[in-house]
């Protein structure tokens, strides 16, 4: 076999392995479209219309969580992996933590509370990256945490605008993946 042929096969093999894990970890791209959209809308509304933003978050957050679990469940119907189950349980426990924290302990009020929630989600994604062996997701999670800290500490007046832009980026990237995997 020629070197060039072997290189092409190797690239093909690596790409297939990587794409498969990415597709499953991101639920076919849908999770980025869902939360990118919610995050962009919610944060940008917070900048331009705080009253409407509060109503939006009240409806969109629980709906987003329910849809996320539905997407995970729907994928699990077609692809049954121990890793998928682990991911499902992980996010389930994290959601339980959010609920208990909100209802009984410390509701995430104000910028401090929001920043804390985002940090938690950021580290959750960093962990997801190690679980699914996708360094890009780990770095994205750590990057989100760094941005969260930076905006909260140094530019709090621009926090929601910054997060809104991150949401738009997530939405765009998720849309791109969705197009790639469904065309």
């Amino acid at each position: 076999m020629k070197q060039e042929e072997a290189k092409a096969l190797w690239r093909n093999l690596e790409e297939t392995e990587r794409e498969t894990r990415l597709r499953l970890a991101l639920l076919g791209g849908w999770i980025l479209v869902l939360w990118g959209g919610i995050w962009a809308m919610g944060n940008l509304l917070t900048v331009w219309s705080p009253g409407m933003a509060e109503r939006f978050w009240t409806v969109a957050s629980p709906l987003g969580v329910l849809l996320s679990f539905y997407l995970g469940f729907r994928q699990g119907v077609s692809v049954r992996t121990p890793l998928g189950l682990q991911t499902f349980y992980f996010w389930g426990l994290l959601t339980l933590f959010f609920l208990l924290h909100w209802i009984f302990l410390l509701p995430p009020k104000g910028l401090e509370g929001v920043s804390f929630l985002i940090s938690l989600v950021a580290f959750a994604y960093a962990y997801m990256g190690t679980l699914w062996q996708i360094p890009g997701i780990t770095w994205a999670g750590l990057g989100l945490f760094a941005l969260d800290l930076l905006l909260f500490r140094l530019f709090p007046e621009h926090f929601h605008l910054g997060m809104g832009l991150v949401g738009l980026l997530g939405l765009a990237y998720g849309g791109r993946l969705l197009w790639r995997w469904t065309r």
Binding site: Q3, A6, T16
Partner: protein, 96 residues
Amino acid sequence: MALDPVIHQETRLRLMALLASLGEGAQVEFTWLKEALDLTEGNLSSHLAKLEEAGYVQVEKGYQGRRPRTWVRLTPQGRAAYQAHRQALLELLKGG
């Protein structure tokens, strides 16, 4: 280490790579596999038949409620064969 002639075909290599990346104990539904690999039903069935004949995959037909489903999983033999093929390819690249 020699390349496995059954796995070596491009589509079957992608199929094995996909199944191997799901981890041990994983099983995937035929339709999802078809969409993920962008293959026709006939094409995928033909490649699965060759891999099943070699003992590398197990194909099970069943039902989910009333819907018929076909499930595909990598056998331990298939996982070992894929890893060996992967290693052989890597050695070929290093040796070049």
